[in-house]
Symmetry: C2
Subunit: 349 residues, 2 copies
């Protein structure tokens, strides 16, 4: 019925839309909205051929749950290297258009896009990476709230609770401290789920010897905080304890390498030589959850004083995963750590 | 420092950006992200003149908290009548451009906007307004979750709790029932704050004779639910009880007028003749929180079977406000009510 309705509107033309509601209506794509646009994606675009073929130009990470008749035409998702996902999405969508085209580019500013302009987007990203004192103070506030959440997660972890039950208490603690509702991006997984690196809290019940991987990214006002810890109940297996020690060492090495003039790629290497993980060593944080400078292999980006960076080495086995994360401000000679949450695998109390 | 950085990049040119991070960076504008784009707004656009003048093209409802040096150039915010806010924003932004222009239109698909296409956006909106049985089932699921939240709010309302404390328990109840995290748009105000029509939960402490206005809009999977009730602790003042009775009558009158073939404007009039309020009588709901058909004065839109509509008359005094809301599906002869939460002002238990 939805397809028939759209075909009637298309009336022999190819139909294209980047309006999120129309995309979801025709394809079943569920946009994640609670924490704003993902830095590792681009808005999907649906293309409906006159013959009823439905194609969705979408990140390779977001093809789950699409209607059966939908063909996913994908651009890269999460990656260590920089990818122009938006550019690739447009290229793919254009390649699917044929004949007369009807559309609703509700999210696209047609007229504004037609003006001649010099693209300075990269310059602006670089400028935004260096924070002024007001911005650092704002990020500090967000990190204090993340610290509150980490303490609540550690204190509340107990056999018999569910991930979701613990999560709601953690969010409540952060919102109470911030005196209002907060957008919060998070990984909140226990037991074997930690081997997935991350994921939302689910219905799993915490068991006696479990551990929790908790990554909290709250926005307070305009700025985001970020923090991660792994917390064990009882005595974790030896390989988990050893991995956690290596990850802490890697975090220490990354911090030791972080100062004005350092190459981002060298910081990445300093941590990664101790333990490897299928993600970045760190990333800038501020007005978005993940921005310049990216601490990834081979990056030639040179750090400047005032850059604010989340460092988050991890280690993941077949049935477990551990990660720790702190946020630092780059200074002339080293870096100041803004995070103050407990990083210990086992609480001493 | 931020302004100086941007001026250096602009280098004598006018700078324009619709990238949300750049907009926030230069103006202090805080985008609401937890529940997706507002149907009563459009993305703001910042224009920085070569002389350092910062202008923000923004909804008149979103000018709070801007940096002191920022001039807001506004387009209409919430309104009963239909407004092309996006078109107005583009027009305003174009009028501010002068000379050479540099920019980062990160949220704008330039290439895609250049293709020739027939705009069928309105047709798609009309088509999306009529839901098929799968969509109605999905909306029903979201409304069941809203019902759970309403019950939790009613049960938890007690003197001494804060709005925020009660809110976190309501959200937890909904997420537990849905077995996962949920985007939730809400109004959650008590006491005198109800006269504001809505607003987020704050730090206010509930008092013995208070009442709560609770409007819950959770998204479950792809589809949104919507519900509102007003709940009193103790004995509310006579004028509040009388207003609540009139609002219930208005809801009944709106439902009685809702069936295939009815004019949206007539449904609005049926409710509004009993009690007046500075907002719509209702709105379509589905893939977005507010869509066609809009139940507003003088609308000639004719209802069709399968349209899903939230009806929400209210009444607001100087120090109090009451509102009730149910969601219905339009049928040939009348409408089916999907909501089953308690609408009573005073709980009988």
């Amino acid at each position: 019925m939805r397809l028939a309705g759209a075909l009637a509107i298309a009336d022999g033309r190819t139909l294209v839309s980047a309006d999120p509601a129309t995309v979801s209506w025709l394809t079943g794509h569920v946009p994640e909205i609670e924490w704003g646009p993902s830095p590792f994606s681009a808005p999907p675009i649906v293309v409906l051929g006159p013959d009823g073929t439905v194609r969705l130009v979408v990140s390779e990470d977001e093809t789950e749950g699409l209607h059966e008749n939908v063909e996913a035409v994908t651009f890269p998702g999460f990656a260590l290297e920089d990818v122009d996902r938006r550019g690739r999405a447009i290229e793919l969508a254009l390649s699917l258009l044929d004949g007369r085209v009807a559309g609703a580019l509700a999210s696209l500013y047609g007229e504004l896009a037609r003006i001649e302009l010099d693209d300075v987007g990269d310059d602006l990203q670089r400028a935004r990476a260096v924070k002024d004192p007001n911005e650092i103070a704002a990020i500090r506030c967000a990190i204090e709230i993340a610290d509150v959440g980490q303490a609540a997660a550690r204190a509340g972890l107990a056999a018999g609770t569910t991930e979701l039950g613990l999560w709601t208490s953690v969010r409540a603690a952060m919102e109470t401290a911030a005196r209002g509702r907060l957008p919060v991006l998070s990984d909140f997984v226990t037991g074997r789920r930690t081997s997935d690196i991350g994921g939302p809290p689910g219905t799993r019940t915490v068991e006696a010897e479990d551990f929790l991987l908790v990554d909290l990214v709250p926005r307070v006002g305009l700025y985001w905080g970020d923090s991660c810890a792994t917390v064990a109940l009882g005595e974790p297996p030896t390989e988990v304890r050893e991995a956690h020690s290596r990850v802490l060492e890697a975090l220490g090495a990354a911090k030791a390498a972080t100062k004005a003039g350092a190459r981002a790629g060298d910081i990445d290497a300093a941590a990664r030589v101790l333990v490897d993980y299928p993600h970045h060593t760190g990333h800038g944080i501020g007005l978005t959850t993940h921005e310049q400078p990216r601490i990834v292999p081979s990056s030639d980006t040179v750090l400047e004083p005032g850059m604010v960076i989340a460092l988050e080495p991890g280690c993941y086995g077949d049935s477990w995963g551990v990660r720790v994360e702190q946020v630092v401000v780059v200074t002339e000679d080293d870096c100041d750590v803004l995070s103050s949450h407990d990083l210990a695998l086992q609480s001493t109390t």
